[in-house]
């Protein structure tokens, strides 16, 4: 086992060597511009892109013409939300999303508010799922888009996508989902799930960084988005810019591998995840965040009360994880996702996200369990809050001197 071990696979995944192998010829030999229609260099590049488009489409049950390649999920999220708003502005200006979405969705919505959009931010329940009745109540005759993520990046909960899309369509709006964390991890089928637009990214599923896709439905209904970048009219006019051929080829290969291996992988990872969780929740005052039934197989988010997340991560020095603690960001605000679940600030500060992946071994998980236990106990020995808790002092009744 090599140290440090990587347990932050929701941030990014290492590339699968088989993906790299597929990409290599497209850097130096098949380097052509996929839009060069009149010589063999262009044809070779185009062939690589076409094949990748099929591989990507197949993973999500789409037609290859429905795949718009982008620079990643952030761009795909922006294109979907801003592009739908612009394209359908004569129909309405109302968009519904929820408070636990990724910033790429929330900030795109905030941007549109300045341009006259009305945005409803649905709250989530304490398990991270939205309330379907609240969704339906929020829809008006001005609603053009419902944007709810598939699987959450911090806690891994999976929203009831089929039900959400059915409600959305009943009222004549479009359904968009940011499926960055879900595609390649669990079966996602745009037809069965009733998805009209979907963003996802290669680097979350063992592909390269800098490439992603927006699925845009072509039939029942035919969906269009207004391009957000002007140029050569690539990608059916929805996303101009010379295609990132090696990246796209790698994305295609990554999708093919996920298609072949994800069922086995999900089984293996959820068993490891369960082991990690059950071993760590033996520690007193530790809590799993988010719904434990409807969730991605590879994410565990645990709060260890009375220790602070960043301090804890420093003690877990041979492992890469992430924390909902404020201290990891410049903002000093703890995770808005965990706060949306109704967690108090101190529990949000005390959270650690473990993200397992294709290359995570059982040995590594065992190591992580031991390191984490040791770190939590070390930090609790240093924690005045732990001492007060053990003395039976109600911390909610202490008058803290905030600074």
């Amino acid at each position: 086992m090599n140290l440090p071990i990587y347990l932050d696979n929701n941030a990014t995944t290492p590339m699968d060597p088989r993906v790299l192998e597929a990409m290599i010829p497209y850097f130096t030999q098949k380097f052509g511009n996929a839009a060069s229609r009149n010589h063999p260099f262009g044809w070779a590049a185009e062939e690589g892109v076409d094949y990748a488009r099929e591989q990507v489409a197949k993973l999500i049950g789409a037609n290859e013409k429905e795949i718009i390649f982008t620079s990643g999920a952030t761009e795909a999220n922006n294109l979907a939300i801003k592009g739908v708003f612009e394209m359908y502005k004569d129909k309405g200006n109302h968009i519904i999303t929820c408070t636990t979405e990724h910033k790429a969705v929330l900030d795109a919505c905030k941007h549109l508010e300045k341009l006259g959009a009305e945005i409803t931010y649905l709250q989530v329940k304490s398990d991270g799922l939205i309330n379907l009745q609240e969704l339906e109540n929020a829809i008006t005759d001005k609603t053009i888009l419902v944007s709810i993520m598939y699987g959450n990046n911090e806690i891994g909960v999976i929203q009831p996508i089929k039900e959400i899309s059915a409600i959305t369509h009943k009222h004549g709006a479009l359904f968009f989902t940011d499926a960055t964390q879900a595609v390649g991890k669990i079966p996602v089928d745009v037809i069965a799930d009733g998805i009209d637009l979907m963003a996802f990214s290669a680097h979350k599923m063992y592909g390269p960084k800098g490439v992603g896709a927006l699925y845009v439905r072509r039939k029942n209904p035919r969906v269009k988005v207004t391009a957000q970048m002007d140029g050569g009219g690539h990608e059916r006019g929805m996303r101009s810019g010379t295609l990132n051929v090696p990246g796209i080829v790698g994305f295609g290969k990554a999708c093919e591998l996920c298609n072949l291996e994800m069922a086995e992988e999900a089984k293996r990872l959820s068993a490891l995840r369960d082991k990690l969780e059950s071993s760590l929740t033996i520690l007193e005052e530790s809590y799993v965040n988010g719904n434990r039934e409807y969730r991605l197989p590879h994410v565990a988010n645990i709060s260890f009360k009375y220790v602070e997340g960043e301090g804890l991560m420093m003690a877990m020095k041979d492992m890469a994880v992430s924390s909902g603690s404020a201290c990891t960001s410049a903002s000093l605000e703890p995770s808005y996702v965990l706060k949306s679940l109704g967690l108090s600030d101190d529990l949000a500060h005390s959270s650690i996200r473990f993200g397992l992946g294709r290359f995570t071994t059982e040995e590594e998980v065992n190591f992580a369990i031991e390191q984490t236990k040791k770190a939590v106990n070390h930090l609790r020995d240093l924690s005045p809050l732990w001492e007060m808790f053990k003395e039976g002092i109600d911390l909610d009744k202490v008058e803290w001197v905030e600074h």
Binding site: E310, G311, D345, H349, P384, L395, W400, V401, E402
Partner: protein, 137 residues
Amino acid sequence: MAYSDKVIDHYTNPRNVGTLDKSKNNVGTGLVGAPECGDVMRLQIEVDANNVITDAKFKTFGCGSAIASSSLATEWLKGKSIDDAMAIDNMDIVEELALPPVKIHCSVLAEDAIKAAINDYRVKNGLEALVSEKSHH
């Protein structure tokens, strides 16, 4: 952002972790910060008849820099007179630990904890609480 060697040293081998008997008259306790903010420091001093700090202990809930700041503070406090202790400035801590700007609040909290402990000791012994001239807030 990497931590400085001194932060790592104090974090890994924190000095003077523990608890003094807060019911004793010659022990001053400062508890500053709030769990919601992600930092709570408790710093305690024991003072002899000559107004010299003979012992100091801390416990901190917070990031590595907060733990290191309070560990360093206890090291500095031991053997100092109350007056000298009162003069410890948060920027001394920033400099010693090479804290980056985003972690300066950890040193401020440590200075606040020192002053709170001293004032607790003073009030217990019938003296007025001292008000710091400078304000960080």
